[in-house]
Symmetry: C2
């Protein structure tokens, strides 16, 4: 950083063998978090969900900018928000270098910036027929957390550790930065799971012009998600279309399975305790002009439109 | 641009001898533009005001990102907004490379990115005692335009060309990119005038640890501004504290006056028809620990707190 906050612009330098990777995300009160969310929760959720996009490219975080729109100048609110933001940004060694503060309905826009070695970034368009499809951790938690936060009295069966787990998954989802970095030399395509597995894997299929087959039985699910969903079927449904999970989905050549196995072993003791790689499917050559994602249960193809509970994926 | 819209992040390359310059700005409906503003007007105002920060650093625009929060998916609105945005961005050869679209109260956040030769950027902290202070064009128009837009029936004395001029100054202020670039090898400090001359020049004074003296008689004013203000005194008041002018204020060593005179001659026939450089003051060594901005009228020091009409600058 040549110049951070305090002038008309921030100035930064990019080293010769690196490329700059950027992503911008907006969170609107009452839409991307409940109006009851604490300033510190809003800060960590905003930062972590935005950083997740850098993880999906295999990029190392460097700096971020913040546009904060607030209904009123509430010093206490701003102080809580800032403390939490600087704390979480510090964990990822990511510096605030600029932004804007305005008055209006509560809205947070962040832009995160990272570096990646030239031409090494993980993208959506590089999946190859024959690749395995993996995810970096349990899916469906984002949706389960939201269900819980919106109807807290409806889930008396959750124990306190499950409650804490879900609240944390919503307000401090772990950006899979370390996994992303390690995938740089072994994965083909990658994406972060913000819209739900089906929609996000479809992005890989479309960009790479391949079909993807998912084994529903292999999707990792947490106990908390299973509890909120009230069973396996609904939990799978959360995973497929709930969104907000911020794990990575990626594809690797089976030749690299040993690298991946080592990585799986390492992640089990990693700092990112939620990261636990699972193989959930494979990439196949597309049989038509329109790449598709197909799901299997115990080896049988599931028709998304016919299957009760999956119907809203038909459109 | 290695990768633009369509993946988790945008990827760009920065050449070896260049630095990356960035600025982020938010515009909130009803606050930074009237609720009655057309989508095309909102687009050009958002883009031009944000780009003005790059001008103040002497940077050349490269790319921008857009976070657009909209109350509803209104195809016609989005189409008008996008057409105008791509048109104005095209004029400055600045490409959209990413962003986010969300639902919520109408808010636009832009981040603009530009290049500048290493260590050449214009900053606020490089003014030297002895420097002349210049501005790139008439001041007070931003405030005059706002007065007119909020009370259109109160100004029957304005002719149609003055109306058109003021509306354009508000919705399509000219980012002084070309002037900024030319100042790289001759100006010391620079800033863009978004908060009003007094506040912005105070930023230069604070950052450079110098005092600044302004000759109020030398501040350039447009006929339209004088008409809306109802006279010279109020027009000066608009210039000093109205804000939203998006001209540059900068300081140069008197040894470079001949370079500046050439530049003044050129700007009179330049594409940026509103750019007309004027010397309005000078930088002096600060006499105390707290750098200040002093104003003179016909050579007499004006006391901002005593002077009727300037009183609200006292605080």
């Amino acid at each position: 950083v040549v110049k951070g906050i305090g002038d008309d612009c921030a100035i930064v330098e990019v080293e010769r063998y690196r490329q700059l990777v950027m992503s911008m995300d907006t969170l609107v009160a009452g839409r991307h978090f409940p109006d009851s969310a604490l300033p510190s929760q809003i800060a960590t959720r905003s930062f972590c969900t935005c950083l997740s996009d850098l993880a999906a490219m295999g990029a190392s975080p460097q700096w971020f900018t913040l546009a904060l729109t607030l209904p009123e100048a509430n010093r206490e609110w701003v102080s809580e928000f800032s403390d939490a933001l600087f704390a979480i940004a510090g964990e990822f060694e990511c510096d605030l270098i600029g932004g804007d503060t305005t008055q209006g309905p509560l809205t947070i826009t962040l832009q995160v910036h990272g570096f990646v070695e030239k031409e090494k970034a993980l993208t959506r368009d590089a999946a190859q027929a024959g690749d395995l499809v993996l995810v970096s951790g349990p899916l469906g938690d984002g949706k389960a957390a939201l269900e819980f936060l919106l109807n807290q009295d409806s889930f008396p069966m959750l124990d306190s550790s499950q409650l804490a787990y879900l609240v944390e998954r919503f307000y401090r989802p772990e950006p899979q930065i370390e996994i992303g970095r390690r995938l740089l030399n072994c994965a083909n395509a990658a994406i972060d799971l913000s819209d739900g597995l089906l929609a996000d894997v479809q992005h890989i299929a479309d960009a790479s012009k391949v079909d993807v087959e998912i084994d529903l039985d292999e999707i990792p699910l947490s106990d908390a998600c299973l509890s909120v969903a009230g069973g396996n079927r609904q939990a799978i449904h959360y995973a497929l279309s709930g969104g907000d999970d911020y794990h990575l989905a990626f594809t690797v050549s089976p030749h690299r399975l040993s690298m991946i196995k080592d990585l799986i072993k390492e992640t089990q003791s990693s700092r990112e305790t939620l990261a636990k790689l699972s193989v959930i499917g494979r990439v196949v050559a597309t049989s038509s002009g329109s790449p598709s994602v197909r799901c299997f249960e115990k080896g049988n193809l599931i028709s998304m439109s016919d299957q009760k509970g999956y119907q809203h994926f038909a459109s």
